[in-house]
C-alpha cells in the first residue's frame, strides 16, 4: 500500500518544473496569442525531456511508462499553462498504444516519441451533450471504405495537428469508433473559433463526405471502448491540468498576500485572507488525491476507472473554479487587469472545466456507479 510517487517521479517533476519556470513564463504564454499558438522550441525541449515518449511502448521507441509517471508532469503543464496540443498528443498516444493495429502503432508511435507528430482528439459536437451517446457524426459505407460527414467543434490546434482522432458512428448500427485523419484531407474544412482562452487555438472541423478506408479506423474496426478510453484519459488529464492551474493560482495568491500592505500590515495577516487561502489549499490537496488516483486507475485499467475519472473531473473542476475566483479576489483590483495575467489561469481552467464532461455530468456518472455497487452487494 503506497499512495505516493517514487523519488524518481518527484525528481522528474522537479526537472520539468525547473525547465518551465526558467523558459516558459506568462510573457511566452501571451506571445502565443498571436499566430498559430505553437512554440516549436517548447515542443522540442519537452520531447528532449522525454514527455512524448513516456506512454510509447519500448518496442516502438518509447519509455513504456504510465499515467502514474505522467500525473505530476501534467500537473506541471497546468501550472505553467503549457499550450494545448502537448497533453492532447500524450492522451492520444495512450489510445493508439492500446487500440491501434500493429501497422498504426508502427507508423505513429515512433514519430510521437521523437516529438515529430502532433495528434489531437476531435470529439465535441455543437448539438451534443457531454455523453458519447450524443455523438451524431456518422461514417456511411461507401465502396470498400466509408464516407464521413458531420461537424466537430473545439478541436484544439486542428490546423497545425498532423493527425485528428475523430470520434464517429459507423453505418446503420451506429457503433462508435475513432478515425485517424489528417486535417488537410480533401473534404475537411477548418474554421477558427473565437475562443474563451486567447492562448488556446480551437477549430470547428467540418467533414464533407471524407473518404476513409479500414486502415484508418483505430484498431481496424470501430471500437466504442477506444472512444470511452480516450474520453476517460482526456477527462483525467484535464483534472491533473486543473489541479496544476489551481496550485499555481494559490501560490501566486500567497506570495501577493504576503507582500501587499494595507492598513499597515500584509493582507495575508488578516484572517479573511488566511482562511480563504487555507480553504483553497485543502481543496487542492483533495484534488491531488482525486487526480492521482485517476492516474493510477488509468494506468492499471482498474475496475473503478470510470468512477475514479468522474470523481477527479468533477472535484478538480469545482476546485479550479473556487481557487481561480478566490485568487483573483485576493489580488483585488490588480487581479482584474489583463496585464497581470491571472485571467489566463481563469480562462484555461474554465475551458478545461467544460471539456470532456463538466462537473454535473461526471457527478451523475459517479452516482450511477455508486448505486450499481450497492445493488451488486445486495
Amino acid at each position: 500500500m503506497d499512495f505516493d510517487f517514487s523519488s524518481e517521479q518527484y525528481m522528474f517533476r522537479e526537472s520539468i518544473r525547473g525547465f518551465l519556470e526558467e523558459s516558459y513564463d506568462l510573457k511566452k504564454v501571451s506571445a502565443l496569442m498571436a499566430g498559430e499558438g505553437r512554440d516549436p522550441r517548447l515542443w522540442s525541449k519537452l520531447a528532449e525531456l522525454g514527455c512524448f515518449s513516456m506512454l510509447v511502448p519500448e518496442e516502438h521507441g518509447g519509455l513504456g511508462l504510465s499515467f502514474v509517471d505522467l500525473a505530476l508532469v501534467i500537473e506541471e503543464f497546468g501550472r505553467a499553462l503549457v499550450p494545448a496540443p502537448v497533453v492532447e498528443t500524450i492522451v492520444s498516444t495512450d489510445a493508439v498504444a492500446r487500440f491501434g493495429t500493429e501497422a498504426q502503432k508502427a507508423q505513429l508511435l515512433p514519430s510521437i516519441a521523437e516529438g515529430k507528430l502532433t495528434m489531437v482528439p476531435a470529439i465535441a459536437e455543437a448539438e451534443a451533450g457531454f455523453s458519447p451517446d450524443d455523438i451524431a457524426m456518422t461514417a456511411e459505407v461507401a465502396g470498400n471504405g466509408w464516407s464521413v460527414s458531420g461537424r466537430k467543434i473545439l478541436v484544439p490546434h486542428a490546423k497545425t495537428a498532423d493527425v485528428l482522432l475523430v470520434a464517429t458512428r459507423f453505418g446503420t448500427d451506429g457503433k462508435l469508433g475513432l478515425v485517424l485523419c489528417e486535417p488537410s484531407r480533401s473534404g475537411v474544412s477548418l474554421r477558427r473559433h473565437e475562443a474563451f482562452d486567447p492562448a488556446g487555438r480551437f477549430y470547428e472541423v467540418s467533414f464533407d463526405r471524407v473518404r476513409i478506408v479500414r486502415d484508418e479506423i483505430l484498431g481496424g474496426d470501430p471500437s466504442g471502448r477506444s472512444v470511452e478510453r480516450l474520453l476517460d484519459a482526456s477527462g483525467a488529464a484535464a483534472a491533473m491540468l486543473m489541479t496544476g492551474v489551481a496550485g499555481k493560482m494559490l501560490d501566486r495568491s500567497i506570495d501577493y498576500a504576503a507582500q501587499r500592505i494595507q492598513f499597515d500590515k500584509p493582507i495575508g495577516s488578516f484572517q479573511a485572507i488566511k482562511h480563504k487561502c487555507a480553504d483553497m489549499a485543502v481543496a487542492i490537496e483533495a484534488s491531488q488525491s482525486a487526480a492521482y488516483y485517476a492516474a493510477w486507475a488509468l494506468a492499471e485499467e482498474a475496475p473503478e476507472l470510470t468512477k475514479a475519472v468522474s470523481i477527479a473531473k468533477s472535484f478538480c473542476g469545482d476546485t479550479a473554479r473556487q481557487v481561480c475566483n478566490e485568487g483573483i479576489q485576493i489580488h483585488g483590483g490588480i487581479g482584474f487587469t489583463w496585464e497581470l495575467g491571472l485571467h489566463l489561469y481563469l480562462r484555461r481552467a474554465k475551458v478545461l472545466e467544460y471539456s470532456y464532461g463538466d462537473a454535473a455530468y461526471h457527478r451523475e456518472r459517479v452516482l450511477a456507479s455508486a448505486l450499481a455497487e450497492i445493488q451488486r452487494r445486495a
Binding site: M1, K265, A286, Y292, Y293, F315, R363, L371
Partner: protein, 396 residues
C-alpha cells in the same frame, strides 16, 4: 504507487475479520445495536473494550512492552477500516487510548508509562480530557485553571468544560497554569489527575443531540502528586500539541471515513426506496447531484487519509497537515448530513422513534451530532489559522 496489500497485511486483516465475526453479537449492526440508554451504552462499550484487550486487539500500535502489539502503520490502517466496516463499538476509553497513550509514549517517564499504559488497554482505567475552559476554547493557551506547587503536590483550582466521558473516567489529562507570571504559552503544565481525588465535581451537559457525553468539571483544592507531571514544569503546551496532532490525524480519520461511507450507503438505499410523488426520491435530478457530491467527497476523505499514511510511512512526522485532513472531513460530512435531511424531504421533521421516520431517525440524530465536527479538536477557524500560518507560511 501501489494499492495492493502484502500477504502479511492480508493475513492480519483476515485474522481480525475472523475475530470480529466470532466476538460481535450475531446480527450486529443490522438487527442488533448498542443500548440506547447512555449509561448502559457506556458499560457496553467498556465491556467491548475489555473483550478487545483479551483478544489482543486493543492499542495495537503501542509497543509490546506496554501491552500493545507494535503494529505497523499499514496494520493500523487496516484495523481502523475493519472495525468501522464491522460497525464495531468505538469503546469507551477513546481518550485514554488515542490521546493519553500517544502522549505518554512520546513524553512520559518510564515510570509513568509502566504505571498508566497497561491499564488503559485493559479497560481498568478510563480517561477524560481536561483541556478547554469556559474562557479558553479556541484560545486554549489562555487556560486559567491553576496548579500551585505545595511540597510534593500540585494543588489544582479551576473549571474545565466539554470534558467528554468525565462521568465514567478514573483519570484525566489536565492542562493547568503553573506559572501565571510567564507568557501564556509558557506557563502551562500537563498533569495526570486521579478523578477520585477529593474536590472534583462533575456536572453533565446536555448536547444539541439530547445526549450528555460531555461535562463541566470543577476542581477545588485538588491535590495531585508531583510525579504526575508529564514532561517539564511549564512545558505543557508543546505536549498538548502532540495530543492534538493525534486527535486530528489520519489514524483517527480513516476509521471515521468507513463509518461515514456506511451511512452514505444507507442514505443511498433510503433515497432509492423512499417514495415521493409517485417516484423514488433518488429520481430527483437535483438530489442526485447533491448525493453524488457526497459520494465524491467521502471517497476523497479516504484517499486523503491514504496519502497522508503513505507520507507517514516514509517518515514524515504528523504535524500541521493533520489540520487539512480534519478541516476537509468535518465540512464534507456536515454537508452530507444536510443532504440526508434533504433526501428525507417532507419526512425530515420526524424524529427518532416515530413510526414514519425513515431509517428510524438516524439521519436526524447524525445531522445534529455533525454540528460538533467543525468545533471539537480545534474549530475550523483555528484549523484555518494553523494551515495558513504553518503550512502556507502566511504572516501572523
Amino acid at each position: 504507487m501501489d494499492f495492493a496489500y502484502s500477504a502479511e497485511d492480508l493475513k492480519f486483516r483476515d485474522d481480525l475479520r475472523r475475530w470480529l465475526t466470532a466476538n460481535l453479537p450475531a446480527g450486529w449492526g443490522r438487527t442488533v445495536f448498542e443500548p440506547k440508554d447512555e449509561d448502559e451504552r457506556a458499560r457496553f462499550r467498556l465491556d467491548w473494550e475489555k473483550k478487545l484487550f483479551k483478544g489482543g486487539w486493543n492499542g495495537i500500535a503501542w509497543p509490546k512492552q506496554y501491552g500493545g502489539r507494535g503494529a505497523t502503520l499499514i496494520e493500523q490502517g487496516i484495523f481502523a477500516e475493519e472495525m468501522a466496516r464491522a460497525r464495531a463499538p468505538e469503546g469507551l476509553n477513546i481518550i485514554g487510548r488515542n490521546l493519553t497513550g500517544s502522549t505518554l509514549l512520546h513524553h512520559g517517564t518510564e515510570a509513568q508509562k509502566q504505571r498508566f499504559l497497561p491499564k488503559i488497554l485493559s479497560g481498568e482505567e478510563v480517561w477524560c480530557q481536561g483541556f478547554s475552559e469556559p474562557n479558553a476554547g479556541s484560545d486554549l493557551a489562555s487556560v486559567k485553571c491553576q496548579a500551585a506547587r505545595d511540597g510534593d503536590h500540585f494543588v489544582v483550582n479551576g473549571q474545565k468544560i466539554w470534558t467528554s466521558f468525565a462521568q465514567y473516567a478514573q483519570w484525566c489529562i489536565l492542562l493547568a497554569r503553573t506559572d501565571p507570571s510567564l507568557p501564556k504559552h509558557k506557563g502551562i503544565s500537563f498533569l495526570l489527575v486521579d478523578m477520585k481525588t477529593p474536590g472534583i465535581t462533575i456536572r453533565p451537559l446536555r448536547q444539541i443531540s439530547g445526549e450528555s457525553e460531555f461535562n463541566e468539571s470543577f476542581f477545588d483544592d485538588v491535590r495531585v502528586p508531583a510525579q504526575n507531571l508529564v514532561g517539564e514544569l511549564n512545558g505543557g503546551w508543546k505536549i498538548a500539541m502532540t495530543t492534538l496532532a493525534y486527535e486530528r490525524g489520519p489514524e483517527d480519520a480513516l476509521g471515521r471515513q468507513i463509518r461515514f461511507k456506511l451511512e452514505l450507503d444507507q442514505l443511498l438505499e433510503t433515497a432509492s426506496t423512499l417514495k415521493r410523488g409517485g417516484k423514488a426520491a433518488i429520481d430527483d435530478p437535483v438530489l442526485r447531484q447533491k448525493l453524488a457530491k457526497s459520494v465524491v467527497e467521502i471517497e476523497l476523505m479516504r484517499l486523503n487519509c491514504l496519502r497522508s499514511f503513505s507520507k507517514s510511512l516514509k517518515g514524515e512526522p504528523p504535524g500541521p497537515s493533520a489540520s487539512m485532513l480534519k478541516l476537509y472531513w468535518s465540512h464534507v460530512t456536515q454537508s452530507m448530513y444536510e443532504t440526508a435531511l434533504e433526501t428525507l424531504g417532507p419526512l425530515a421533521p420526524l424524529g427518532e422513534g416515530d413510526s414514519l421516520s425513515p431509517a428510524d431517525g438516524r439521519f436526524q440524530l447524525s445531522f445534529l451530532q455533525s454540528r460538533a465536527f467543525t468545533i471539537y479538536s480545534g474549530s475550523s477557524e483555528i484549523q484555518r489559522n494553523i494551515i495558513a500560518e504553518r503550512v502556507l507560511g502566511l504572516p501572523k
